[in-house]
Amino acid sequence: MKKNKSKENFIITLCDGPSCIHNKSKELKRDIEIQLEKKGLSDNGRIILSGCLGMCSKGPILIVNPGYTIYGHVTEKDIPEIVESHLVKGKPVSRLIIDEDHLYNRFFRVFGDVGFFGKQMRITLRNCGIIDPESIDDYISLRGYEAIAKILSDMKPEEVIEEVKRSGLRGRGGAGFPTGMKWEFTANQKSDEKYVICNADEGDPGAFMDRSAIEGDPHTVIEGMIIGGYAVGSAKGIVYIRAEYPLAITRLEKAIKDARDSGFLGENILGSDFSFDIEIRLGAGAFVCGEETALIHSIEGSRGMPRPRPPYPSVNGLFGKPTLINNVETWANVPVIILDSADWFRKVGTEKSKGTKVFALAGKVKNTGLVEVPMGTTLREIIFDIGGGIEKGKKFKAVQTGGPSGGCLPEKYLDTPIDYESLAKAGSIMGSGGMIVIDEDSCMVNIAKFFLEFTQNESCGKCTPCREGTKRMLEILTRITEGKGEQGDIEKLERLGNLIKKASLCGLGQSAPNPVLSTLTNFREEYEEHIKHKKCRAGECRLLLDYVINDKCVGCGACKRICPAGAVSGNPKTPHVIDKSKCIKCGQCYEICKFGAVDKK
């Protein structure tokens, strides 16, 4: 039987994202239980494993509610103190609390008071870390499934669509297509069968907000899909999720079962004549399946290869039936819009981009993790105020948004407000929300090559420009980073890039050249240096480095012995020299020298 919640005085949330598990968050759960037992508090509260909270660099994270006190870097030794001081005496342990000024406190004070927990709430991730994701009761206690009750009793499907349209919500998966319009297209189709799909095939390298959203609050996504199903006249929902997310899958499975048991899914939901159910389908490791027609083929049991559009899935989708596809983050916004009205939702964000956006902030920035900010926040605010600026006092060089489909923006764009149009204008995209900060130690040619390597590897191979073109671009980039760049390579990259962008079959190909084209625009001089002067200013392209022995050399001979190419010469106890023509740039002399006498330039 469920515990009687009214007796609960506190809830302790432990993050069980991969970073926190690595830092032993799961072991902490047992330590807390022991301490609670000792103090006789076991029945007064409970411990929740929350799914990734996105504060990865400060893990393990422990949150005590009420009060939303966030503790970071918690160790086994800290537990007795937290229990004694915070839970027994009501005095939070200030030395363990992380930033008063943390991003969550700063940006998410958007909700009103919604009861027990609620001062700090985000939209998409509003419940993450606050509720037990495996408890439907927790979700319900935060007005969960209220939106369902509302639409079933008060709203016609077309009114739901109107509300979503009016909210200004746009697809959070990348392109930013107005969500309400997509719904309307699907609703307008006459068909005996329609499908509603949640795209949880989050495949961007460096993006994990969808996983967090599902791990931390699976019911929100389910509720969003039910609303979508009601609006477009569909009885069948499918969540297409990466097989690489076992925890998210388990939680989702449980949530679906609980929702079914509680009458939110299945036949005649809440006694109405609306029926809807959800099934989970697993991906199998193909980035291109994020593209909606490829995703449909994958659900149909085929190779995830896109097909030409039109016809769009809203007309001809899964099994040839009208199909509505939105991604996790988009679905998670829907219940909020229904409950708190489109008018409220429209207040957040900019003129054309409403609401918030979740980013996975990573790279050379002090605080990494998930960031949910209102649209219109600037890149500078995220990177420097929330992210705490660049690590190790290094200099900011670029920020990459939109993952492999996006672009690299230099310093002059730091004050760009985040919305679909501004990012596109600056030469990048919103994408699904990867945000990688790059400092002066990274070579932009190499970064472009990294992303292209990714898309080239993930190309499905169907259309010529993407299959053959990205391969040729990658060959040219590799050549450049190896010091074999030739005059005309930049022009070839641009020619191919523009062709692939405009001629490819699907979004993957059409955006694959973006990282290269944007670095060619913003960091062209680095390409030119690589090609003309065979220099990599970041020192990342190993084959472009020169290893030189400086005057700190004592002539110990270590480098001479280890050099596999016999490039080092010199008599014992006299300074040695490296013969550049023989050097193969393996870097072993640099590694072995104890005197700092080898420079790489």
């Binding site: 993930e458 191979g461 259309c463 010529t464 060959e475 490819s504």
Partner: protein, 593 residues
């Protein structure tokens, strides 16, 4: 009722067109031929090659005209410098991953990619880099698969799955490493490939070609110790002219006979003769079955691709298949028995060559159960394409050659034998003879129109002495499978079924001349014209019923006795076995629930 039209602009000029069609379809009708590669009108839209891109005002990206629908007011540009350059770069990208060995390639001069590259005006190369490198698959007796030449247009995959429904081929792996291959990359010969050769027909390059035996044949033709005998399939004469630039629809019967004699054959016989022989046996077998001796519906057995397909996917219908060998193998059987007797030669000295429209016949010729006294009935099979090449290569002027008759005693044929080469023809021929054998009366209205044409499944009825005989005809293995699914469900629905493995029947065989620069492979008009050539031959014959062929009658008198005699059974009939190559799916077997 007036048809609704919309206005589109192509290259700034307005045109009224019907809605609900693609840009390519509309442009084709208006005389704009947008370059294309993966598109084929009979197959699903792939949209993969991107050669057919056009610019549409208001669209950020180029649109693939093969799939993009027209809409009112649409402004399309098919030939701007920008789009020309984009297309050229795309074709160049294809070439960059393609062996540049055109002058030693089997499709040199007849390659869609080559033509396309020429029309794009590619003069300089920009992006060369790594090329794929895979082994050729030479395992099949019929089809050679060369992945290096593959440009991944997917036509072979689509024809094999959509039209033939054999599903021998798929794209495997992905991205730059995508390869079209059979399951598990196993040798083609071990796969479910029926050897029909339709992949060869639709392949724009030489990624699929027939197993070529021309050099071996030249070798044998110069061997003085052998008696070289050729037989020519009906549809070879209906299409061979195309290989010499003659428009489709003209039968080159006597010219083919003459050219083969010039090539060095001692005897050139006609497979149409053995088609008549087949009808004698098959019609008799049918009447036997009709009288309760054997299972109905009886299904024809002339098409070798169909035979392999049936053994793999419909083993439960083996008893329904006519035990008659194909006309080619019946001829082969006679060539290694009666014929050497007649010319007083040793059977092993006869070198029997079949000139066929078909790649599957190469496979059939190797089937061990068809051996006659330990000898192959047919020693070697060349396709129409190979024969045409040999004729050219030997310097024989096919265009101006004076026609000659086929040789006796196996060269005379009825009109019924001629129409074997097109879908419905075997059935029509069988009806002409069966009717007379059954009723004792001559069927006067012998052209069975409902069995002609390119409809996938055709049905007909004929009343013999008050008994209604229901027949059905399917061409292409996909249609055949659909028809047999019906026959399986309703066993009493038909009495007699004709199946041909290739679209259009043998005239659309996998060994026929490639489409020329102005046409598409398996073009329906072309198939109809080839069929018409055979129907014309029939109409112009005085003998139009197989049983009236005097040479066939003589063969029975001198050698076989009567249809279905013991000797007939021994040399003209065969048997079939369930086949389970790895990767086989018993298509349509009741699902294991």
């Amino acid at each position: 009722m007036e048809k609704k039209t919309i206005t589109i602009y192509i290259n700034d000029k307005p045109y009224r067109v019907e809605p609900e069609q693609t840009v390519m379809q509309a442009a084709d009708k208006l005389g704009f031929h947008i370059p294309r590669l993966c598109y084929h009108p009979k197959l699903s839209i792939e949209g993969a090659c991107r050669v057919c891109i056009v610019q549409v005002e208001g669209l950020k990206n180029y649109a693939a005209s093969c799939s993009y629908p027209v809409s009112d007011g649409m402004k399309i540009h098919t030939n701007t410098q920008e789009i020309r350059r984009a297309r050229r770069d795309i074709v160049e990208l294809i070439l960059d991953n393609h062996p540049l060995d055109c002058h030693t390639c089997d499709r040199d001069g007849n390659c869609e990619l080559q033509r396309l590259a020429y029309s794009m005006g590619i003069k300089k190369r920009h992006f060369e880099g790594e090329k794929k490198s895979y082994d050729k698959d030479l395992s099949s007796p019929s089809v050679v698969r060369d992945p290096d030449k593959c440009i991944l247009c997917g036509r072979c995959v689509r024809i094999c799955s959509e039209i033939q429904k054999v599903n021998a081929l798929r794209q495997a792996y992905r991205g730059f490493k995508t390869v079209v291959m059979p399951a598990y990359n196993m040798p083609f010969s071990e796969s479910v490939c029926t050897t029909c050769g339709q992949c060869i027909n639709v392949c724009p390059t030489a990624s699929f070609i027939e197993k070529n035996y021309t050099q071996e044949l030249f070798e044998k033709l110069s061997d003085k110790s052998l008696i070289k005998v050729a037989q020519v399939a009906p549809s070879v004469r209906a299409a061979i002219g195309e290989a010499f630039g003659i428009p489709p629809g003209t039968a080159k019967e006597k010219e083919t006979a003459a050219a083969l004699k010039r090539l060095g054959f001692d005897y050139v016989f006609d497979t149409q003769f053995s088609a008549d022989l087949t009808i004698m046996e098959e019609a008799s077998e049918f009447l036997d079955r009709l009288q309760g001796k054997g299972r109905l519906p009886m299904i024809t057995s002339c098409s070798s691709a169909w035979m392999k397909c049936m053994e793999q996917f419909y083993p439960d219908l083996i008893e329904n298949i006519s035990t008659c060998k194909s006309p080619m193998s019946m001829m082969g059987a006679v060539l290694k028995t009666h014929f050497p007797e007649k010319i007083k030669a040793a059977p092993e000295k006869i070198f029997s060559v079949a000139v066929m429209c078909c790649t599957a016949k190469k496979y059939e010729a190797q089937r061990p159960e068809l051996k006659i006294n330990g000898l192959n009935g047919v020693d070697l099979v060349v396709t129409t394409r190979e024969a045409a090449w040999m004729i050219k290569s030997a310097g024989i002027d096919f265009l101006n050659i004076k026609g000659e008759e086929f040789d006796h005693p196996l060269g005379l044929s009825s009109g019924a034998g001629a129409i074997f080469g097109t879908t419905g023809g075997v059935m029509e021929a069988a009806i002409r003879t069966a009717y007379e054998l059954y009723t004792g009366e001559t069927l006067l209205d012998i052209e069975v129109n409902e069995l002609r044409g390119l409809k996938g499944i055709k049905e007909g009825k004929i009343v013999m002495d008050g008994k209604e005989i229901r027949v059905a005809v399917a061409h292409g293995l996909g249609n055949a499978c659909d028809l047999l699914d019906i026959a399986r469900k309703e066993p009493g629905k038909y009495h007699f079924i004709e199946v041909m493995g290739c679209p259009g029947g043998c005239v659309g065989g996998g060994g026929q001349p490639y489409a020329d620069a102005n046409s598409i492979p398996l073009d329906e008009e072309c198939l109809k014209l080839r069929a018409k050539a055979l129907y014309d031959l029939d109409r112009n014959r005085t003998i139009r019923r197989s049983h009236e062929n005097p040479d066939v009658q003589r063969l029975y008198k001198e050698f076989l006795g009567r249809p279905l005699s013991e000797l007939s059974h021994k040399i003209l009939h065969t048997h079939y076995k369930k086949k389970e190559p790895k990767g086989i799916i018993p298509r349509g077997l009741v699902r294991a629930r």
